[in-house]
Amino acid sequence: MSTAPASIAEQPQTAVRTGAELVVDTLERLGVESVFGYPGGAIMPLYDALARGKVKHYLVRHEQAAAFAADAAGRVTGRAGVCLATSGPGATNLITGIANAFMDSVPLVAITGQVPQTLMGTDAFQEIDIFGLTLPIVKHSVVIRDPADIPAALAEAFAIAEGGRPGPVLVDLPKDVQQASCARWDEPMEGDDLRPSPSAESLAEADKLIAAAKKPLLYLGGGVARSNATDLVRDISERTGIPAVATLQGLGVLPVEHPNFVGMLGMHGGRAANTAVQESDLLIVIGARFDDRATGHLASFAPHASVVHIDTDAAEFGKLRHAHSTMCGDLKRCLRTIEFTPGDISEWQAETRRLKEEHAPRYDAPGNGVFAPELLKKLSERAGDSFVAACDVGQHQMWVAQHCRFSRPQAHLTSGGLGAMGYGLPAAIGAKVAEPDATVVCVSGDGSFMMNIQELATLRRYNIPVKIVLLDNSMLGLVRQWQELFFEGNYSEVDLSDNPDFVEVANSFGIEAFSVDLKSQVDGAIDRLLAAKGPILAHVRIDPEENVWPLVPPGKSNADMMESKW
């Protein structure tokens, strides 16, 4: 509801425009430079207008990839990414990507073609009620029924997608609305900034709790990145010395080497972070929602802690964990009003630093094979502050989270809430388009990669220099790990040993590729990846039986972590 107005350039109403032209005009006025999409019958008028406009269109090879690429662009820039699809199957193919943006609060505008209004409701060819289908996974949606509404409705869609707690907005455009001519249209109106300010009582309570705490902990979530509050949180951490843990989406707010950063909490979090949370007497939760992957068994989560909860979305307060003080509003505004004057926490600081040192990850894995955590750590460190990881879902995703160094939270693109395999490659494309100077690395698994492998054609077509690290364990590794640990080794449908030759596949798309089999080849592989000027794929064979450690078994307390045997 708290929408910050999207700024829009003026457009004189001098000529007659079609609805489709008004869409393109408005995108340009809103500063949209690139969109990702796939054409079809019901959106052809818009494609006709696009070809004559200034917005750059990236033709993907599956609409899901358009949505994922737009999602990644939204995460990197904070501005809504845009994806386009035709009605029916084009629109339904967007759904996973829209859900992904919804679950991770990412600004996204999805524009779908629709059959002409007179045919809506008649089961016309490629008519699908995409508005109805996506209702539970959008922040808002609209069917534009009059071309005169297009500029205002589109500007509003961007304002809603980007404002407050960001999210996806669906704009359904019937074909007749795209084709209709329009001589006068409603101009977008400046919206009011409706974000509430924190109340004096909640502020006083937060200040009191922070001053009294012996073991305070900053608990950083994805909201920090979405609110662009990273610098402020770093400042607070440095000024106060309060130790910090991060959720999957909060990684990078403090770089891993920062002395106040204890680590990632949760199911695949570190023992140091999970222990610190269990011992803490005050969690200062900033832009996080107590996801079950972070908290483990909720009733035994942080048993001694009071909670100060700061978020742009009041609906998160008390949803899963009671908060003693809540503050709703723009995160930066909230954070600036809190005093953050803890008492003497030197013992606690020493304790969290000791925990971090004691439980630092080990990289001395036995054998000559590639140890993926070591490869990922080295690669991220060598790429430096320009490193951006776009991951798929599985063991490799958790290794990225555990072992990579991120200079900022926008450098870690991961499908957190939805956990959608197939995100990595399209997300890497979206990120590299949005931030051409970044060193964008797609870290994928052999299962996930096959879900959007067709996007190698997009990489090639636009020569987008994404670096792909394909960690191939010939397995749906994370599922195999759970079957080993929680289903008595009954391996059911996880074997992928009949994978294609990924180097040949990449080559056939016109992409440079090479294989890595041994630990001793890792440094050379990183050199080659970083030196490549165009897209490149490293096919890395790893042990099919490797597991991700540590692990909190599902439904267990974060205090009950399972660790590696070596």
């Binding site: 509801m1 109805g132 539970p136 069917v143 809603i160 707690r165 009041a314 609906a315 008390g318």
Partner: protein, 93 residues
Amino acid sequence: MSIQNIRIEFAFAEGALRRLLGVIEARGWIITSMQMGSDGDRSIMTLSLNPRDGTRKIATLIRQISRVYGVISAAHMDGATSFIREIPRAAAG
């Protein structure tokens, strides 16, 4: 499980009713009765809801309804735990 009564005011807009009913059901509440009317440019709906299990909190649901774009106010009508969030009219359109 006790029945909870709520009242929602929202702006007329395509899909607004489906959106609200969807939020209520998806968040774990069974709609046992519903009345609806209108007042000028807004619809007013009162509903009786039954939680699916003991973990559902009406205050949380009210906040989840309040953030739906187009909702003008949402209130729990049962006394002590009443919640209301007035959203300025301009924003509801």
